[in-house]
Every structure is written in C-alpha cells, then in structure tokens.
Subunit: 347 residues, 2 copies
C-alpha cells in the first residue's frame, strides 16, 4: 500500500466530510463546485479512481459517486484528522453548565451524555467513575420493620451503596448501632482482601454484617455495577442508515441490552484499535461486534487513571463527525476528571 500524495489525502478528507454531511455518495463535479477547487472534475476523477483502487473508497454502483470504506475511515481518523479543539465559546458554555448544576455525580453524568449526544449527533454513553480497588469507609445500619435492616455503605471515593438486609432474627437499633460502630472502627480503610482476612475475627451479628459488606464491595467493584447514562437515541433514528430494514436497527437493540452494552464499554483499552490521542475508535465493529458492522464507536476514559475511572462513549453511523465528536470527548474527559478529583473523598 503506497503512501498517498497530499492531494489524495486532501480529497479523501473531503469525501469523508461531505459524506458525513449528506449521507449521499459524493461525485467529482459536486466536489469541485462545493469547494471551488482549483482543478477540473476529471482530475478529481482520476484521484478518486486511485483512492478506490487502494481500498479507501468504493462505489455503490457503476455510475454513482464515492463512499468511504472502513479502511477509508480508519485512514482518515488515524492520519488525516488534525487535532481540532472545540471553539473557546463552546468550551465555555459547556463548563459553565457543569459548574451550574448541583455537585451530584448522576447529574454530571446526565449532562455529559446530553452534551456529547448533541455535539456528535449520535448516541452517547457515559458511566460514572468507579474505583478500581474499593475500600471501606463507613457503615450505617438502620432498623426498619421486623428483621429488615437498611445498610448504607460509604466507600472511599464517595460512592454510597445501600441495601436491604434480612436478618435471621429481629435486632434492636441499639445492637445494630453497636455493631456498625465496632466495624467502622476496625474496618476503616480496608479493601476486600483485608476484610476477608478479618472475617474469622467476628461472630454473630458482626460476622453476618461483615459478610454483607464484603458482598456489596464485591458487587461495587464489578464493572457491571453502576448505570449507563444514554442520550441521543433519537439522533440515530433520523439518520438514513437506521431507518431501513429491521437489521439496520440491531445497534439500537444492543443499547437496550445492559450486558452487551457493558461488554462494549469494557472493551476500552482492551482492544487496541485506531487510537486518536486517548480516544479509541472502533470502526465497523472491528470484527468483534457483528451488530456494529455499520457503526463506529468512540471510547475514552476519564477520572483518576488507575484509581477511579469512568467511560465516555459515542455510537453512531460510520459517517460520524469524528473531529467534533473526538474533541468533545477529550474536552469532557478532562473537565470531568477535574470535577471528579475535586470532589473525591481523600485517600
């Protein structure tokens, strides 16, 4: 595969742009007129023919314009997409919105999803950051009716988990508070392994509660925990590639299946794909995702690397506005990372 000339790169970029905008195959004459190019359509035709031969473009049929292939998009993303930054005004507006909402993680995630969906004109996926290694911070046990007890568990990082427990026998609030107090003193700052080591130390109520704490900790540290914030579904519906057959809507079905969605989000970093400075780009499912054969997915992480990270994602047709989507993701990622680290419970 020979290196492309500057002009060929330029034309490839134009085709990608134009196709993203119009969703219609782009022809040589059209390009010349639209961009007032300094060359004739015949020249463009020659270059288009070359790019087609190289596998970056294809023709839906003999006398149609060109459409980028998967390879074309990959080339575009990895080599032609210059590092665009969001305009200052946009950046300002976005961060303003974030600082205006209450300091609530769920609210931030919703806002991030909304902004990302708007900017990318596709579906956005956001998961709240969560700690890689969960550590116990504080426990609260609250008696309710009969043998039911509400357990509120605060973890380092500010995550709060609640759960209803059913005890073997009714226990008074005093006993519960006592148990909680003992455990709070002795479990503080411990991680799952350390807790497991301590298990033998306890008996009776304390032991049961410790079991539940560990269970909850385990649940919290599994990546499937936590909600996925979705926005912009309707963006996809207006796109022609999703209004066709039943088959065309498989990506949308994927979004409704929590488990598949989680798998997809988990594939960040694992898969090593076209990487555009921190943002991973999966084009056409990359062989692993049959449902996404027609789609592109952008993924990136935010938060404190290695400590507590969340995910930002975009799912849309292959003719995504990559530039804008990626720069928005980068910006949101750093913005959220700041917000999160500011409000994170100290070590």
């Amino acid at each position: 595969m020979t290196e492309l000339t500057e002009r060929q790169k330029f034309i490839l970029a134009l085709v990608v742009h134009e196709y993203a905008r119009t969703a219609a195959p782009v022809g040589s004459n059209y390009l010349v007129n639209q961009y007032h190019l300094e060359m004739s359509s015949a020249t463009i035709r020659n270059e288009l023919a070359f790019l087609t031969e190289q596998g970056y473009l294809r023709q839906p049929h003999t006398s149609a314009g060109r459409v980028p292939t998967e390879e074309g998009y990959r080339y575009f993303v990895s080599r032609l997409l210059q590092d665009t930054t969001l305009p200052e005004a946009v950046r300002h507006t976005i961060s303003h919105q974030f600082y205006q909402t209450s300091q609530d993680m769920a609210e931030w995630m919703r806002l991030a999803a909304s902004v990302l969906a708007h900017q990318s004109r596709a579906v956005s996926l956001v998961t709240a950051p969560h700690m890689r290694q969960m550590r116990f911070k504080h426990l609260e046990l609250i008696a309710t009716r009969g043998r039911q007890v509400l357990m509120v568990l605060v973890l380092y990082g500010g995550e709060v988990r609640q759960r209803m427990l059913t005890l073997a026998e009714a226990v008074s609030q005093e006993q519960l508070s006592g148990s909680a107090h003992r455990l709070n003193v002795e479990l503080a700052d411990k991680d799952l392994n350390s807790l497991a080591a301590l298990r033998a130390t306890y008996q009776g109520l304390d032991c049961d509660v410790l079991e539940w704490v560990m269970e909850e900790l385990k649940g919290a540290s599994s990546s499937a925990a936590g909600e996925v914030y979705l926005d912009g579904m309707t963006n996809l519906l207006s796109e022609p590639e999703f209004s066709g057959s039943e088959d065309a809507r498989r990506p949308l079905r994927l979004l409704e299946e929590r488990s598949s969605l989680q798998d997809l989000l988990d594939s960040v970093v694992l898969t090593n794909t076209s990487n555009s400075a921190g943002v991973q780009v999966l084009i056409g499912g990359e062989g692993n995702w049959d449902e996404l054969r027609q789609c592109s997915v952008l993924l990136t992480r935010f938060g404190a690397p290695g400590l507590a990270t969340g995910t930002l994602g975009v799912l849309g047709p292959m003719r995504l506005p990559y530039g804008r989507a990626i720069s928005t993701m980068r910006f949101l990622s750093s913005l959220l990372s700041d917000l999160v680290s500011e409000t994170m419970v100290d070590e």
Copy 2:
C-alpha cells in the same frame, strides 16, 4: 349515540384485536375467514358500516378495510375489555424473577420495566416510589478533601440521598460527627415544616447543615426527583407507525426529554380519563399532548397509597394490546406494592 348490539360490540372488539395484531386495515371477508364466523361478509359489512357511522371505525380510503378511531379504542377499553388476568404461569414466572433479584429498589424497577415492555410490546416507564411527605431519619457527614463534605441523608421509607457540600472553612471529622450526632438526635422523625420551625435554634455548622438537609429534603419531595426507568424503546421502532416521517418519531423524542416525560407521568390521577379499574388510559394524547396524537399511554400507581407511590406506565401505538398490558400493569402494581411495603422503613 345509541347503544350497540352485542354483535356490534363483538365485531368492534374483533377489529380492534385484529388491527392490533396486523397493523393493516381489516376487511369483512378477512374477519369471516380468520374467525370462522357464522355469518356472511355482507352482514359484517353492514355492521362495519354502522360502526363507522357511529364514529368507532374509519376507512383510510374508500376501498380499504376498517381501522378503529380514537373513539373506537375508548369504547373498547372502557366497555368491551373484560377483566383479563394474566395466566397463572406467567404470574408465577414474573414474581419468581422479582424474588430472585437482590432486594434493591433500582433492580426491581429495572425488572418491572423489562417485564412490562415485553408484555406490552411497547415502551415501559417506571419510577421508584417516593414518599409524599419526606421525614428525616438519619444523617451522616463524612469529611473528604479540604472543605468538601459528603452528606448522606436517610429518610423514612428507606430513601437514601447523598450530596457533596462545600463548607465555608475546613472542619475536622470530629466536628462533623458531633454536628451529625446532635442533629440526628433532635431532627429524628421531623418533616420539612418541623425542620423549618427549628432552624432558629441552631447556629454555626449545625445551622448550615440543617439548611442543606432541608434543601435536600425539598429536592427529594419534588416529583422530578428520581430516575425514570425506561425499557422497550426498540419495540416501537419495529412498529410501522414509528418508521414513517420525522413527525412519526416525536413520541420517541418525548421520551428523551426528562421534563416532558416527568410531566406525562405526573398526569396520573390528575387527568380523569378512560379509567380501567385503576389503570388510566390516555388515547391520542387526549388533547393535551400533541406529540402523542398517534399514541396511547397507560398509567397506574403502586406502593402505599398516599404515603409512598411510584408510577408504572406504557407508551405505544394506539393499537396496543390493551388487555395484556393492563393486566400486566395491575399485576406488577400489586406485586411491587407488596415488595415495597415489606421493605419500607417503619413509621
């Protein structure tokens, strides 16, 4: 408007059923063959003509079959829909699923949404029950970095709210615990009004925290609080009424706008519409919802009436499987009511 004969009711019901199944105008011959009726198609035609004249049916065009009108659906729901109950086997399966999941409200809501979406083949909407009158139960203050403090507020009813506070100046964990302890003792069981009355009693840190507690209580009691669990969006996409023009997808857009969605759910009980034993039926937006002109919405509440209630909803095309959807809602409502009251924090 004259009373319909039994046969006319029967035929109207058949048309509603058949149209719900096939989404195609139903004709006289088709009905006779499909249901092996003991009369000729001409007889059916006469009845169809009558029902059309009465406004219960209409013809898309001269030589097409009949389609129910809004009035037709209303008549069907309010007078022809016999009280169907979900088959025992289905009921068993569903409740089994509920008792298998962890006793976690969010998990239950998700499951309810999933079940309801499946059964109704439409979009389901579920909101967690929340107390009408919020009452303070327990408060926890946890120091984090600098002047940031995590406040965990437990309310009667088992609702837990968390929020990050920014204090005027850094305060030690001891001071925070002291403040929390004082407030816990004195605020226990108080509602928003009682708290407001106590405000003057406090000063310094305690006073600030009380302010925040009140703010949070206020937020919690507004109906906009809490998430809306959605499921089954893709069900709608396969329906022909939503695959047409951009306009046909307005109901789907509605689902992405939190505020409109909330308004819709809030309209339970307020609007007095075709009411099928506890389940409200809004057909064609009932004049208030322009976006829903082509849709039907079913709404019902569950939980402890007057104390803590959540909402179950279904949104779909007018040709909803009303029988199944409504009986599923009734069943889920009573199931969830039981679950909720079992695990609710005592009075």
